[in-house]
């Protein structure tokens, strides 16, 4: 354990401490001046583009998380309740397959679908519905769609493992006692899978807050997120600015972790 702790201390926690320091220093002529100041943060406050992007990032993250869970829930419900037990494992593995393939390629592959010469436009043109290709790439919603695609496997897996422990007799009992199916789902199933839902929310929402590849490849200018701004500061060797913006993202993450700490502390959260 000691070597592992040292390794992670040195390469994970110390660098994080560095970001904290750098965020209060300033960039000047491609070096960082070690004067303690709040300049970087003031800069982000004064330039509307940064906090607008931050709000947009939060919005994209929340929307993508909500949609991912909304899409994954009926799927996991179906898999756990209606699929033969012998088939459940293989079908689950099929969901994991895309999750283990290259993240870059999973983003890239959407260019083949949504591009001007992509699957959707070609199909619609062939069907005679449109003459000119529709612009499907480089919108905020394109980014959200691709994020849902990227994070669906995780949400489905987490929700499945939590729904799978549910005793369906309880649902039947509630309905025998006169509850409608939706009431039974809401009052009996949902409270019992709360830990799974929270885990899914955390593991989908947190990484999205720092996304930069998906917005860059399919979001264009309209889809810019805070991650892209961090990346461009870094490319311009503005490490203090990049650190400050990273620390703001990290701040949101810490806030989320504190908010959800109870459900994370329970072992059930790691049921998957």
């Amino acid at each position: 354990m000691v070597p592992t702790a040292v390794y992670f201390g040195l390469f994970f926690f110390v660098p994080f401490g560095l970001i904290v320091c750098f965020s209060f220093w300033t960039d000047s002529n491609y070096t960082v001046v070690h004067d303690w100041t709040l300049d970087n943060y003031r800069y982000f406050l004064e330039n509307a583009v940064y906090w607008h992007t931050m709000i947009a990032t939060l919005w994209v993250a929340v929307a993508a998380t909500a949609i991912t869970l909304g899409v994954a829930f009926p799927f996991s419900y179906w898999l756990s309740r209606y699929v033969r037990p012998g088939l459940q494992k293989p079908l689950l593995v099929l969901v994991i397959v895309p999750f283990w393939t290259s993240y870059l390629l999973r983003v890239y592959s959407w260019l083949n679908i949504l591009g001007d010469e992509g699957l959707v436009n070609t199909a619609l043109k062939k069907a005679g519905i449109i003459d000119q290709p529709m612009s499907l790439l480089y919108h905020r919603w394109t980014v959200i769609l691709v994020l849902v695609y990227l994070y669906f496997p995780f949400a489905a897996l987490t929700l499945y493992s939590s729904i799978d422990r549910f005793d369906w007799d309880q649902l039947r009992a509630a309905m025998d006692l006169g509850a409608s199916p939706t009431t039974a789902l809401r009052k009996i199933l949902l409270p019992q899978i709360r830990a799974g839902i929270t885990t899914a929310v955390i593991f989908v929402l947190i990484p999205i807050l720092g996304e930069y590849l998906a917005p860059q490849l399919v979001g264009g200018i309209e889809g810019v997120m805070t991650g892209n701004q961090i990346d461009s500061f870094q490319q311009g060797a503005l490490y203090a600015r990049a650190s400050a913006l990273s620390l703001i993202v990290a701040g949101f993450i810490v806030l989320l972790l504190i908010l959800f700490r109870k459900s994370l502390a329970s072992k059930e959260a790691y049921g998957a």
Partner: protein, 284 residues
Amino acid sequence: MAREESVLSRRGRIARSSLLVYGGFIYLFLFTPIVLLVLFSFNANEYGSFPITGWTLSWYRQVFGDPDIQDALRTTLSVGYKVTIVSVLLGTTAAFSLVRGGVRFPAGFRVAMTLPIMIPGILIGISLLILFTQILHLPLSPTSAVIGQSLYTTPFVLLLVAARLEGFDRNLERAASDLGANAFNRLRLIVIPLIFPSILAGALFAFTLSFDEFVITNFIIGSYNTLPIYIYTQIKYGITPEVNALAAMVLMASIALLALAFVVPATYRLVRKAFTRRVAPAAP
């Protein structure tokens, strides 16, 4: 479930069949992008997009002949095996301390080791970039990529091996000890064989993750290329059909590696079982 069939109401049957259709759509959603990518890699159209004008293997031939790609492949593999070794060593030893005591705050340690998987890769990338270039003044190289990637892969190995150790019957070791095995022999004859499948699976997962890793690597590999970095550069400077062929191969390689991660540990268990049975027949 089969026995439920007869008691399902009409509404239940409708819910069931519409969910079946929904499940089908989900798999379509998951696999269309992947299948399309592979399909385009055989497309004769030189823009690598629709319409499909014919089938060809020439993009694949170009990939195999490209020295830049061979270079990137070499870097990918060399980073990959180093990441695998580092994460197996660090992950396994940490799993032992975590499960068998020796960690003062096991819950805190577990959360701390989950952080690198959970937080966005950009934060790991930026902070390591600053450590290497601004503080240590080291040149960026595949070695920095090994360090960055192993932060992300070690927790996977740790969680896998820890899960296996938690389900481990410690009486086996006590029995071995009663029969005179010392600590080294207990480890060699009892513990390692039992947790070896999860170590193998962890190693394969670590290698696959490293093979595909882009987000962290992109910040800290400097001017070197791994395959994902090479593909990214090509995408940025215009999509060529050659990239589709390379992408398809990378995709297939990670799926094959994933299959290995499931098959190899199971095979190991089977082989071992067959072997031990021959050596020491079980009592009737």
